[in-house]
């Protein structure tokens, strides 16, 4: 990557990030994210009743569901707003390559989500205070959660390029991310197993974020899981590029 490219990417990312923090969106988002995390972990997750010094079940297991709504909400405006206001025309006539803009926007939102995720650190302090948790497993859980957020976000980036309406972009990405959960969620795979051959069940489940996230959640960092999330991200961002090119051509 040339230094020009990285400067373009960073300029765009910086603009998007300041966009988050110049509006109430960022603060509302972070507060709700932290409140929901606390609620799920301590109330629904039964953190104290479990009596384990681990975050796997009470904390990380909620993230696929929490992100299902929060990540599309954080990313839905990325391209749809540019299309609605018409700034897309400015952005794409600046002397930059479209992929630099796509990557810049994605990185900005991902950094924002990372900040929100990072602010959940008190839960780590709590579990550390109460017991002696496996810090490596917690780090793996955070890495998995970060990658999961990135995968959902990349899907949202793609759906937001599809429409100039933020609500449509939100709903589309929720539906796609919901599929990414369901395809490998145990209750669904258990249903499938009854009438489909194993290979089909495994094929469908392999599209899901659940088994891959599950490994991180248990503290296992496997190259195959890393590759899975990376390929969801790359595929979605590439799809975004194709959609944007289609927009300009038609």
């Amino acid at each position: 990557m040339s230094s020009d490219s990285s400067r373009h990417i960073w300029t765009i990312a910086k603009r998007e990030l300041s966009g988050y923090f110049n509006s109430p969106v960022a603060y509302v988002f972070i507060v709700i994210f932290l409140l929901l995390n606390g609620f799920f972990t301590f109330m629904l997750g039964g953190f104290f009743e479990l009596g384990e010094a681990s975050l796997s079940k009470p904390f990380f297991s909620w993230h696929p569901w929490l992100y299902l709504f929060l990540v599309p909400a954080a990313g839905m405006r990325l391209w749809s707003e540019e299309r609605r206001v018409g700034t897309l025309e400015l952005l794409l006539t600046y002397p930059i390559a479209p992929w630099e803009a796509i990557l810049g926007k994605f990185i900005a939102s991902w950094i924002f989500l990372a900040i929100a995720l990072g602010l959940t650190f008190p839960v780590v302090l709590t579990v550390g205070y109460l017991g002696s948790p496996d810090l490596g497993a917690i780090l793996a859980g955070y890495l998995g959660s970060f990658l999961l957020a990135g995968a959902y976000l990349a899907v949202t980036v793609m759906t937001s390029a599809l429409t100039r309406n933020q609500v449509v972009s939100f709903i589309l990405s929720v539906v796609i991310c919901f599929f990414l959960i369901l395809a490998g969620w145990e209750p669904v795979t258990n249903l499938l197993v009854r009438w489909a051959p194993d290979t089909i069940v495994n094929l469908v489940a392999s599209f899901s974020v659940m088994p891959h996230f599950g490994n991180f959640q248990r503290g296992v960092v496997d190259l195959r899981d890393l590759l899975f999330f990376a390929s969801v991200i790359v595929f979605s961002l590439f799809g975004t590029g194709v959609i944007l090119r289609g927009l300009r051509g038609a």
């Binding site: 400067r7 603009r15 206001v85 006539t93 600046y94 002397p95 390559a97 051509g249």
Partner: protein, 319 residues
């Protein structure tokens, strides 16, 4: 600087731009005229590289827009039709973003912002958020971002739209000044603007270039171009009519009395004879002892030319 060759853009079965060709050199200001939906904006979007042409070629400063877009885009400043701005930013923030996207850094960005802010009268609102600004300010903010890098080529889609008369005047003066060193294309609905600013104008209708020339050349295509209008006193309608009809260079003559004086409209027999006709009318008046109160040769009007070229035939007939 700008070379457009046989540019075609199809949206599905519809041909929005049909084989448009023209060139714009440095120091030229090209006015782009045409009714709504004629293909002006689409053509400009292809020149700036926002949408690729179905066929044909655009080259800016020797760089082909489809093969070598980045160096071409570096030379261009672009004001899109709706003058879009990032409304969650301040004017200063937006201009500094535009400057960074243009590859500027550090001190030069601040200098550039000061320069365009004073050119576009934005000094007072630099630290205001764009979404609190009125339409005119937002428009000038977007105009400012298009000239932030002092580009060699400017593409302006309706740069005076939404401005008040004073601002319109200022922006026209600005375009005119910048046009001395740059190649500028701008589209407009306002015909006086073309006469006031452009060195050349193109009229485009239903995707096709239907006229291309200096404003004076275009005006000469008007039906009334070369018409001599005269007001005299001291003669009778019949005498005046007889004398004027007898002139070698005169075509159709209309005479009517207007209070104490008589007005006549004399069409030249050929457009090129307009100057001679005016002299002949003057001579005729002095020979006959009439008092000449007014003598005027019509240059033709751009709006007439525009209408006669761009109105569909059916509409012309019913008028």
């Amino acid at each position: 600087m700008i070379i457009v060759e046989n540019l075609v853009k199809e949206f599905g079965p519809k041909r929005a731009v049909n084989s448009v060709s023209f060139t714009v050199n440095r120091g030229e200001i090209l006015g782009f005229l045409g009714p709504n939906g004629a293909g002006k904006s689409t053509t400009m979007r292809m020149i700036t590289g926002y949408i690729p042409p179905t066929s044909g070629r655009v080259s800016v400063g020797g760089n082909d827009l489809s093969e070598n877009p980045i160096p071409a885009k570096k030379l261009i400043g672009y004001l899109p039709e709706s003058a879009p701005c990032y409304s969650d930013m301040t004017v200063h923030g937006f201009l500094s973003f535009a400057a960074e996207m243009r590859g500027m850094r550090g001190r030069t960005i601040q200098d550039a912002i000061q320069r365009v802010a004073s050119l576009c009268f934005l000094e007072g609102v630099l630290h205001q958020s764009v979404d609190t600004l009125s339409k005119g300010y937002r428009h000038r903010t977007c105009f400012a971002q298009s000239i932030i890098h002092d580009p060699e080529v400017l593409v302006l889609d309706e740069p005076t739209d939404g401005l008040d008369p004073n601002q319109k005047h200022e922006v026209r003066q600005l375009i005119k000044r910048m046009g001395e060193k740059k190649a500028i294309i701008f589209s407009t609905h306002i015909l006086e603007e073309v006469e006031a600013v452009c060195s050349r104008a193109i009229i485009i209708d239903r995707g096709t270039v239907v006229a291309n020339g200096t404003p004076a050349e275009l005006k000469a295509r008007s039906e009334n171009a070369g018409l001599v209008r005269v007001r005299i006193s001291g003669g009778t309608v019949d005498a005046v009519k007889g004398k004027l009809t007898g002139l070698m260079t005169a075509g159709r003559v209309q005479v009517q009395s207007e209070g104490a004086s008589i007005t006549a409209r004399i069409q030249p027999r050929e457009r090129a004879l307009a100057g001679e006709l005016a002299r002949a009318v003057g001579d005729a008046a002095s020979q006959s002892g009439w008092k000449l109160e007014e003598l005027h040769t019509e240059e033709g009007r751009l709006d007439e030319v525009f209408r006669s070229i761009t109105l569909p035939d059916t509409v012309k007939r019913t008028e």
